[in-house]
Point group: D2
Chain length 322, copies 4
């Protein structure tokens, strides 16, 4: 209670996803969501939204199955990185330092208790636009693309976990994430937890993997800032045979205006028309949604979620096989 | 460079404004902007937007002239408050502790170099809705009002200063504000500075007081989150003889979707259709708008600002008298 | 083919609905949808949206059961009225002239083959705002109300019919309605028909009454013009225990942005965020949605329709009793 | 008064504009406004918006100076065409029949008293999308383009005239246009007139040519239907050095949400976020804006119009030369 908050993790830096259909996945992100390709290397393509400042925020890597490669977090400073690495190492979940990747310097690898691969880093490379993409809007690293309905920045990642509470506690204790909202079932178990290191309601959520998987991805989310863009992209998805799973609608949790879609490689992508409310209160008491008031928490209004929303993740597990 | 950031100030807590026409000012905030009255005492009425969590975010106090009473900031913790009070005291701008006010506990009073009254506090009282205002949207402290086009939360304050740089440095050094964007004139002087303690581009801005005043208010801003609401409230302002000074339009600085209006007491109020971009980069290099690229910085598109925008503040100074 | 179109009917003039809960129904229309009461007489209250020009567009009459009282159409001229009365009389569906009602002069009563009561009229009384509601927006008959999320005008009516084709033909042949879109099932029967006398896709639709009822109401629709208002009113409906049946979403038929809700008296009300596309082509070939492409026709994207959407109408018929 | 309305003209069919910079003009319409090229012939390129049903709605023809080529109107039927040709011939403003052009059959040419070239026609060719552009949204002739912020349909044309009243009367008397709104100066002269053959407030407006020109174009307007798209395209215009003349904002006249921009060839283009209100009243009394209430008529709220708005037209006349 008298403990002061940890401010060592600053933001989600990038996410790597796997896809068995790299061409189609890239078409989806580049032509429909207007994302920009920074570079390619090996089986990976590095992308960013047009208001993302760093080298990339999405790394798309060819693989046999869809799923999450890793999630990278940037710390608040270099000493903050050192403090968090120390904490991770003593937690037993730390793994090792790597030299870096395209777009960033040394990174410390670790895993969540559920086995999701993550990295912590400080040194990043900024995107530098070629001259024909320069804009007079100085807070925008490049011109708005003329393709599709372009997303503006990476927003958050939602991971399935075999045990929400354990994974939540790990991130709160070792990295300083704050719990913002969670779902508590009648038996006392947590079915979902939304956590952040900033005033956003979440940069990271864990939801219970009802198929008993470990280390799976539920979705990655990009942000528009304007609800109309969810209608625009829905029009385009529907005409281009991209399956909209749910939305547009408004979540109770986070109050965000959402849309869920499956990219051609099979990963679920969320788009935010707006990110909902922001939390500035330093003493925030987590919102608890009980099992019997869950309906409004999940969908405040608009399109309901299909049953598969609570089971489908990547890599895919067939419900029958469980 | 190796110094770690200060995270001791968490948010803007409330603002007090003066009005010579309290009834009309309250009609404006309550009937048009849908704000809620918490209580009254003496010559003051305490208001909040329906998604503000504390007792109040706007204190309206009757006075001979419009202007700013004080701005209150909440710290990140109790020890953080103590650290900042110490810093303020050694800066020479600290004043004294007060026991508190309706809605909060002990507060430390200080002044900016320009003379704007401010407070730093930790203990706050949360708003508790009566039963008929309870909502199932658990992150909302009460139902959305059915009056006017209701604003959702206090966003920021913009102050006129005789010397932008001095005041900016004071807040950066003593309270840990980060500079996000600023305007630098050809002679090297700063004409405006936008600062924040959160990913918002600003909770506080200083703009140069071209009439040579000290301690004046430029505007207080409330947030909608949806651009359509600026159109809706513009409709209502126009029909109800409330003077729209500028907007709707989009600022280059902050990328926010804005509207400026004069409340009946004479204070300028800004409304944000959306707050623009968020800054998560812990190494953010401030955006510098030079004098000759200033146009796009002030208005990216939409309604231009009239000349009086750069002179009018409260209390009012007649340009002729300068 | 060489026949020229009939332009004798100009618009939907007003709709009368029945409610067993007049107080709650009026609260819904006045406090949530911001409608204005013109006057009351007997068991009826006369309402209009703030951009409706006539005395009223909605007459709410107390009755034992919810349902439709009548639908009134205004002709293009007085001679046009005479021509259509003649046509109705020779069709066998004409009934009789009445002297009028509050807000309009003589009206000719008739029934659709399914038994929906309708009127045709020419003389109307215009709404005259009291001085405090005058607005400088000269095309608006009064100021925008400050209550709820105010609707702007009556848009259309949707009626359940035991036989869509017969009723459709009646209105096309006798009154000059043009068929804009329709649903044709695999057995060749029409399951729905959208018709208009203007560039709107419909002022009137018939849908097949799957419970075998006659003369029932499916819904009455009011228009906003801006999609955001469907989100705003959804927020308010959800917080005030008003049941949203479906939406917001976008129909394939008409391309309109819709929301369906049950008013407290039991009648289904639709709200249009926007009315979709307009038809100016004088040779318009009706759009035919076949049974197997129906899904996209009903919901282009967004919230799906529940099964009850295709059965529930007023007066209510219990599915079990059929 | 007992005269029945004329319903012989159904819609604006297409507009031809001249440009001295065809490549740049086409880049503007195709890459920024997402318009589709149907075909080219000689010095002309034929374009349409993606929800326009006919072969083309915009013909862009290379010429030394920008300006209007002609405006084509489609009648309600073939007999209606014959009736209107007869009226035009007896008016003295009829010219001659031509065999047609790409996309339509025989057309009757005429001129307004001010000298604007116009055509009246019945036979049109419908656009047929190639298979990869087919959409399941059956009321849409092709998929929504993935380029720029695509406009949906041609809305209206606004012409400068040396004498508004004469030109207005000509179109009302010969073609059956209805006057919807107009501006009347203190000296009794009409400074502007908005007219339509449909519930739209206008398909055609005349504004007084303050530079004394004849037969000039003020602007051509395309329609989005959603206000957000004006913000989106403003972003793109600003970044791509396209001059926004005014907007986004809301007109008092028509209540439309507008944006004015100069295409690279020099013609003013208007974009409608929404078209405002619709007029269904068959006895509509034209709205009269007097000189002293004109401000609100022109700009209800938002970006004011610069002085050049009332002088600039194409072909360009230099104010100094007058």
């Amino acid at each position: 209670m008298t403990k002061e908050p940890i401010f060592d993790v600053a933001q989600i830096a990038h996410v790597e996803i796997f896809t068995p259909k790299p061409d189609e996945t890239l078409w989806f992100f580049k032509e429909l969501l207007g994302m920009e390709e920074t570079t390619r290397e090996g089986q990976s393509v590095y992308l960013r939204a047009y208001e993302d400042f760093y080298h990339h925020t999405l790394k798309v890597t060819e693989a046999k199955e869809p799923g999450i490669g890793h999630v990278a977090w940037r710390t608040s400073s270099k000493p903050a990185l050192e403090r968090r690495v120390q904490a991770l190492e003593s937690s037993g979940y730390g793994k090792k330092w790597i030299d870096g990747d395209l777009g960033h310097g040394p990174a410390f690898q670790f895993e969540t208790p559920d086995g999701h691969k993550m990295e912590l880093l400080w040194d990043v490379e900024y995107y530098k636009a070629p001259e024909h993409k320069w804009t007079k809007l100085l807070s925008r690293p490049q011109k708005r693309p003329l393709r599709g309905v372009p997303v503006r920045r990476l927003d958050h990642v939602n991971l399935l976990a075999s045990d929400v509470t354990t994974n939540k506690n790990f991130l709160m204790n070792q990295l300083g994430f704050r719990l913002r909202e969670h779902i508590v079932m009648n038996d006392g178990s947590e079915a979902g937890a939304w956590m952040s290191v900033s005033p956003l309601v979440h940069e990271l959520a864990f939801m219970s993997d009802s198929l008993g998987g470990r280390g799976r991805l539920h979705h990655v989310c990009f942000w528009y800032g304007y609800p109309q863009h969810l209608s625009d992209i829905s029009d385009i998805f529907t005409e281009n045979e991209i399956e909209i799973e749910a939305g547009p609608g408004k979540h109770g949790v986070s109050q965000a205006n959402f849309l869920y879609v499956l990219e051609p490689g099979g990963n679920r992508i969320e788009l935010f028309g707006d990110a909902g409310y922001l939390i500035f209160d330093p003493e925030w008491k987590p919102i608890t949604w009980k099992e019997d008031e869950l309906d409004k928490g999940i969908i405040w209004y608009g399109s309901p979620l299909p049953a598969e929303f609570f089971m489908y993740g990547t890599p895919i597990i067939e419900p029958a096989k469980v």
